[in-house]
Symmetry: C2
Subunit: 288 residues, 2 copies
């Protein structure tokens, strides 16, 4: 099986590399989503390049997330549209009508709120350009999903606030511990190592195509996480809290999603992620 | 010659229909840029549809301009991205590598300012998402041009503030006369009937592919236009003026381009538009 990996140097992409190295029968080719000079590929160029490499699977981990904060997407709209809409759309078109399986990362932040049991994959996103209530980043992720809806042989993996046990500026736990003020709402979050393993299981086990929420079962709030960090990591810091997301949005200056996702679909195809409190606790206990 | 016309019911599209009716040897097929239910075509659907109709030329007059004001594009980002970026990109990809000539409308508003002799077609746009100083509408028009840059067999026609002698809510002269407050800056503007004739001449005469500024030679300011209207149409109204565009932008709440475009390239291929003052005067004298 030959996998073409776009965005291999990013926070999610590097974890794919880590895990691929241990899987027999998989050859990984890391490809940049941009030309060597930083400009964007044309459709024909990208298509020719992909056909030449004849992959079995394309995984797109590339995205513009504004570096350390999606706030930066508001001021880099060209880059955000190009990376998060145009590029995945091109990949989708190339895979559509071919035998190539397409795996694309989306975000659980296309939802906001707490319906009974959490948002299911088939629920209509409610944090979108259409409803004019979302950040620019989130709006582009929704549009990409819409543009990919006719591609049959694809996985859309929705993740949220990735974290694991390695201290890293993109790690949600690292971020939380570095902030002074937190919003105290329940949220679904995704262990980076587990989510990547789940993607590989989707591909290797050939589970039905479609959209999957790849968040750890359950939900957790910032307060619980930093209290665990105080206990386990001896973190000596006091935090201030916004108790509602509206005040937090004003503080942050962009709309922020707070949401619980339903994880039954992933479980139903036999792929397990550990309950969120266990996963966070393990990460903090193995912090490095 | 078979021409596929997208956006035939719009302000520019209807004028194409008017003028096509008088041209022998041209068959025009009007096609909607959206499915009957208002949703967007997938690439494959659009591609199949176009191949079935085997056109010689595709003209894309469709765009989302926010109805009567581009201000509305700020709140309809999904529609704006879909119509102004994704759709023309798909058309470009379909034309690229085929014999179909592609004609696409862009906007002179991707520039702002007054360089010596006006902005030439090859000048880098300076009112863009990249420079983070433009309206959402303008940003999407720039991105579409970038995505079409590898399509060889295309015309990009840049127009500005279209007007003619027919009173119409999209007519720039109608708009100016309806406002109470105007910005008093020099601007290039485009007579709708002349710009459409210029497009047809590009196609029929087979002028070299590329980008053309389709504005009337010269420049004019709001003050001059309403003074002409007072004299010719006996318009009895006093206007207030913003003397600089910054104050106007604050008033309007989005960045507005004020710009002079260079029209030498169009003239160099033998296509004439009348000097802007003559064209405005003629329109007001024949106002209906």
């Amino acid at each position: 099986m030959r996998i073409l990996l776009f965005g291999a140097s990013g926070y999610i992409g590097t974890e794919f590399i880590n895990q691929f190295q241990n899987v027999n029968g998989i050859e990984v080719i890391c490809v940049s989503s941009r030309r060597p000079d930083g400009s964007s590929y044309s459709y024909r160029e990208l298509s020719r390049m992909i056909v030449d490499m004849s992959p079995t699977v394309i995984i797109n981990c590339s995205a513009y997330v504004g570096g350390l904060s999606i706030i930066n997407c508001e001021n880099r709209k060209d880059m955000t549209i190009q990376s998060n809409i145009i590029f995945p759309q091109m990949l989708g078109e190339i895979c559509n009508g071919s035998d190539i399986v397409f795996g694309h990362f989306s975000s659980g932040c296309i939802y906001n709120g707490y319906p009974d049991g959490g948002f299911k994959e088939a629920d209509e996103p409610n944090f979108t350009f259409k409803s004019n209530n979302c950040s620019f980043y989130t709006g582009t992720k929704v549009l990409a999903e819409e543009l990919l809806k006719d591609v049959p042989n694809k996985y859309i993996w929705r993740i949220r606030l990735p974290f694991d046990e390695r201290n890293h500026p993109r790690n949600y736990l690292t971020k939380l511990m570095s902030f002074d003020t937190l919003v105290n709402c329940d949220n679904s979050i995704s262990n980076r190592r587990e989510l990547v393993r789940a993607c590989l299981e989707c591909i290797i086990n050939g589970v039905p195509f479609g959209t999957y929420n790849l968040t750890n079962p359950g939900y957790i709030r910032a307060y619980e996480i930093v209290e665990m960090a105080k206990k386990i990591l001896k973190l000596d810091k006091e935090f201030k809290y916004f108790e509602d997301s509206e005040t937090f949005d004003e503080f942050r200056k962009i709309p922020t999603s707070n949401v619980i996702l339903n994880t039954d679909k992933l479980a139903s195809v036999g792929i397990k992620m550990t309950p969120v409190h266990d996963s966070v606790e393990w990460s903090l206990k193995n912090w490095k």
